[in-house]
């Protein structure tokens, strides 16, 4: 009997664990280690953050789902990996610390034959002074990164709406809270949901709404922007995004590294090296991501963290980390199997793998401050790579250690994205977009780097209906309800 241990129960980890359990059956063990008791459909946190959904609608308990799937579930956070075992045993293991009520703090070793690291990110609020505490519930700003954060954001939003109803003008500042953030798309969706809610509440004319982000141009989205087919043109996402902002009377600051947050004020540095301040009454700023801080120890007890992990804490995989300057970047730099180069039975997928470099062109201010989006690897790509890695591990368990690995490079993978504005079936509109491939391949698609037959975007109710369907479909799938394996990632 072989044992697969999956660290993390988010989109990538949950996909990997559930498919592995399905394919391996009861002859082998699948173990999931995740500090969370609940699974969260994160894209719908946006609607929680404006009071259009409850926390209960976007989360569910993991324990009964894993019990149904035959998965052994540890509510715990991983602390370290011992890929060579220790002095007394050659069996690799992970060290975990329980987060379960009544057992919190208890340390346990869990042996594995194969390990999938899908921990997701640490929300690195500490990177920007004043952005938030360790739980992300900052004193000055809010976040929508977790369902609890989104509930808090909604409470603060409605305080502002009440003030506006009493005649007090309010300033809203939404975007990224550091020069090296990713997930601009989430903030993008949130700002338009806020604008929609303020319209609904009849107080839009009392609000000044502004976007602040580390993108060098609006519509970069961490993927270096994209060109999409529209009206017979290949239109830049810059035009697409600017049009949305102009239409809704939302101003923007771009190329900004937020370096300090105080009560009602952010301080930032721009790509041209100038410094600025922006006041706010309500601010949702996405924090930068970092690895969760796993340590790696070899058989002799020596720290080999730097061998397995990149300096940002994400796990090294089969990527080209020596690509160098932007001019040298190629689509083939991106990993395809997500296998750790040092330990063949260890994989990393989702946000947990270390990307070879950003997708957007790296930039910095004259002061040397890097200000560019880091690459997104959430949502659809995260699920696809989780499934591919699970497939690889299952093949190696069932067919032998030399079974070929499955591939899921972000340079050969597309993504579908729907950014809502409102929730009503007949009143909300959404921007529906697809991008193919996620990582541009300028050799295969000269000029834009992408196939414009499959890279498109449009605004309307249709996208909005798709957003609703995706919400219910993916929660259905994650709960392993009938037919879940037929629903694509």
């Amino acid at each position: 009997m072989a044992r697969l241990v999956v660290l993390g129960g988010g989109v990538s980890g949950h996909t990997a664990a559930t498919f592995a359990a399905e394919w391996l059956g009861s002859a082998h063990e699948v173990v999931v280690v995740t500090p969370n008791a609940k699974w969260n459909w994160i894209p719908s946190n946006i609607w929680v953050g404006v009071g259009q959904m409850t926390k209960e609608e976007v989360t569910f308990d993991l324990a009964p789902v894993y019990a149904k799937a035959g998965i052994i579930y540890h509510q715990a956070k991983a602390l370290g990996i011992h890929p060579e075992g220790n002095e007394t045993s050659d069996k690799p293991y992970v060290v975990v610390e329980s987060t379960e009520a009544g057992k919190a703090g208890q340390i346990e070793n869990i042996e594995y034959d194969y390990l999938i690291n899908a921990t997701g990110p640490k929300l690195n609020f500490a990177a920007t002074p004043g952005l938030g505490d360790a739980n992300g519930l900052g004193e000055f700003t809010v976040s929508v990164c977790t369902a609890d954060h989104a509930v808090h954001a909604n409470e603060e939003l409605h305080k502002c709406i009440e003030k506006m109803k009493k005649g007090e003008r309010q300033k809203f500042l939404i975007g990224t809270g550091h020069g090296m953030c990713t997930c601009q798309g989430a903030a993008f969706e949130y700002i338009f949901n806020i604008e929609h809610e303020l319209n609904k509440a009849g107080v839009r004319d009392m609000a000044d709404i502004k976007w602040i982000s580390n993108e060098s141009f609006l519509g970069d989205f961490g993927v270096g922007g994209l060109h999409m087919k529209a009206m017979g043109f290949a239109v830049s996402s810059k035009i697409f995004a600017e049009s949305l902002f102009a239409e809704r009377n939302v101003d923007w600051i771009i190329g900004a590294h937020v370096n300090k947050v105080e009560k009602g004020k952010v301080h930032y540095e721009l790509l041209d090296g100038s410094m600025g301040e922006e006041e706010f009454d309500f601010s949702m700023l996405i924090p930068p991501f970092a690895g969760v801080g796993l340590k790696a120890i070899n058989k002799a007890g020596e720290d080999i963290t730097a061998t397995i992990f990149a300096p940002n804490g994400f796990m090294k995989v089969d990527a080209n980390y020596a690509a160098g300057a932007y001019e040298n970047w190629k689509a083939s730099d991106w990993p395809s199997t997500y296998q750790n180069p040092t330990y063949g039975n260890v994989f990393a997928c989702g946000i947990a793998f270390a990307p070879p470099h950003p997708i957007s062109k790296p930039m910095s201010s004259p002061n040397g401050t890097p200000i560019n989006p880091t690459p997104p690897r959430t949502g659809m790509p995260s699920g696809i790579m989780g499934k591919a890695v699970a497939h690889s591990v299952c093949d190696r368990i069932l067919k032998g250690p030399d079974a070929p690995l499955h591939e899921a490079s972000m340079a050969h993978m597309g993504a579908a994205c729907v950014a809502s504005a409102g929730k009503g079936l007949f009143t909300g509109t959404a921007a529906a977009m697809t991008i193919y491939p996620v990582v541009p391949d300028f050799e295969k698609y000269p000029g834009t780097g992408r196939d414009t037959e499959y890279t498109f975007g449009e605004i309307g109710l249709a996208g909005h209906w798709i957003k609703h369907i995706l919400h219910h479909l993916f929660i259905w799938k994650a709960k392993l309800k009938p037919g879940w394996t037929l629903i694509p990632e």
Binding site: I239, E242, S243, F245, A246, E247, R248, N249, D251, W252, M380, P381, I384, K387, A408, H412, M413, G414, A415, A416, F426, T427, T429, A432, T434, Y436, Y454, F456, E458, I459, G460, L461, A462, G463, W465, I466, P488, E489
Partner: protein
């Protein structure tokens, strides 16, 4: 309605060089018949992208 988005443009401001939707584009966004057709088309396009990605 025809000036729906244009009124927000500020000369030589951030948004001076972008485009804004006219009344037809705006109406089509919530036209149920048009959106029902787009719904089918967008779903097909997304399914093609999904299938190319696996």
């Amino acid at each position: 309605m025809s000036k729906y988005g244009e009124k927000n443009i500020r000369a030589y401001g951030n948004n001076f060089t972008t485009m804004t939707p006219g009344p037809v584009a705006k109406w089509l966004r919530t036209c149920l018949i048009f959106q029902a057709i787009r719904f089918v088309i967008i779903n097909i396009k997304m399914l093609v992208v999904v299938s190319k990605s696996h």
